[in-house]
Amino acid sequence: MLDLVNLTKRYHDLTAVDHLNLHLAPGEIFGFIGPNGAGKTTTIKMLATLLRPTEGDALVDGVSVVAKPEQVRSLIGYMPDNFGVYDDVKVWEYLDFFASAYRIPREQRSSLIGDVLALTDLRIKRDAFVEELSRGMKQRLCLAKTLLHDPPLLLLDEPASGLDPRARIEMRELLKQLRRTGKTILISSHILSELADFCTTVGIIEAGRLVASGSVEEIIQQTGLTRTLELRITAGLERVETVLREVEMVRDVVVDADAGTCAVSFAGELDDVADLLKMLLDDGVRVVQAMESASDLEGLFMRVTRGQVA
């Protein structure tokens, strides 16, 4: 669906994106992760035909963004990280404008607008003025706009930036719904844990270069990082350490007796968690909650990137 071939962008003497190679299969949700200034926006702008690559090319469904940008434009839905809205325009008029710009016949527009508004949960705002929407609503409106022409590839540049925690969650739910529609999605963020649970693959970019890519599992394997499992235990906490120390892949066990919790670092796959838990339960340790710590992904991110900027 999307192929980047040595995609490069140089601004004068600064190389913002450096020979990026990537392949996205149809239906893949690719999380594009990197610190500030890593080159995410630059890459996405090149894919959205807004910037011409200095070198290399990108193919959207086999169509080159360099040679045939006009054709690419109808294949992509692009949501910029920062965008403005027009004054004096109502929500449905805003969408109607973009629908007509995407050459959607007039007869189909109104039902289509109804559909995307329903999907983004903005139906009650249909007749509100765009500039009066809250930031989260504007983001959703922009997402609605990118869905109008039903593009097979969505390019979302930090769709959750600037949102409060609640709106972030809502945005995430919305994106999960989109995943079900079978679209290929490239979504950028600088927070790995935000994307990890719903992207099929992630790529970590730093200083314009892809430093790691694959599923989160694969990256953890590649980097030899341990996972941290947080357990909540109501009885048998004192036995946990002795039980787990015997397991080969467990690297460390930290028990917090007051809180009734225990953090287990281990070098294994996600699937191995089940074995660990079974072992504990068999031993009479009552584990009531087990989850992989999010700070782990942060650790992964910190480990892979070095804080360099292009």
Partner: protein
């Protein structure tokens, strides 16, 4: 081109029309109040038109050229600024990227935005036209209007080209407007004025208004003693061809002009 051929009305124009009609909202909160203001404005317009009719006696009709010239200067100064606003304003508002990722052709983009931008000024010109027509001396009407219509449209087109070019290249809207207006002032008024002064000093005939408003003619006048009507008539034609050519180039190459200007990433506030 893979996209379906553009059909129907330009989407950008429809969009601008909607915004234009909404401008009524700025008059007040209540629809009734808005209509009262609009209707009183219309009444005031009709009253002033009627009094103009009575005031302008046949002898005063020579006022035409003064009125026209003042209007032309005003308009001429507005045009580059207005057209420089089109894309620079979109860029400043952060709406340009969304617009440019739509499968609109360059021609649709440029024409739609420009027409939309000129909706207001065109309305004003339309409203002013009856005043001008009433003030035209019947005897010279054909000559005056002929001269105006042959010079003004190409001149405006040239200024529009200048504006759109600045709009595509300069990042801020205010900057684009300033550059376009500055260039237009320098080349459209200042130099011809200097030239006119020069003509007078070097014993030539008095500068004609077409010399003042049509730089090409003035420049020709600077080279030699070209004040014959036949040759000055070439000026507008020359200007028209030049302006149309520039505009066509601009429309076709608009893509390269506006898309690949390096964007300035505004950092988002959250960490």
């Amino acid at each position: 081109m893979a996209n379906a051929r553009p059909r129907g009305v330009n989407p950008l124009l429809v969009h601008s029309l909607r915004q234009f009609m909404r401008a009524r909202r700025k008059l007040g909160q209540r629809p009734l109040g808005q209509w009262i203001i609009l209707l009183s404005a219309a009444a005031a317009y009709l009253v002033s038109l009627a009094s103009w009719w009575h005031l302008v006696r046949p002898a005063d009709k020579g006022a035409f050229s003064t009125v026209v010239i003042c209007m032309m200067i005003g308009l001429g100064l507005m045009v580059p600024g207005l057209s420089a606003g089109v894309f620079a304003q979109e860029r400043q508002n952060g709406t340009l990227d969304l617009l440019l990722t739509c499968p609109l052709t360059n021609r649709e983009l440029v024409r739609g935005k420009l027409l939309g931008q000129f909706l207001g000024p065109l309305t004003i010109v339309g409203l002013a036209l009856p005043f001008l027509i009433l003030a035209t001396p019947a005897a010279d009407a054909a000559m005056l209007w002929g001269a105006t219509l042959s010079t003004v449209p190409p001149l405006i087109l040239a200024l529009v080209c200048l504006g759109v070019y600045c709009s595509a290249r300069v990042r801020s809207a205010a900057g684009a407007r300033a550059v376009a207006t500055g260039v237009a002032l320098t080349f459209g008024l200042l130099l011809p004025m200097l030239d006119a002064a020069f003509c007078e000093l070097s014993h030539h005939s008095e500068p004609t208004w077409s010399q003042i408003f049509c730089p090409c003619v003035s420049y020709l006048g600077l080279v030699g003693e070209i004040t014959e009507p036949g040759l000055s008539a070439l000026g507008p034609i020359f200007l028209l061809v030049g302006a149309v050519w520039c505009f066509a180039r601009l429309e076709l190459g608009f893509d390269r002009l506006v898309r690949n200007t390096e964007y300035s990433p505004r950092r988002s506030a959250d960490a």
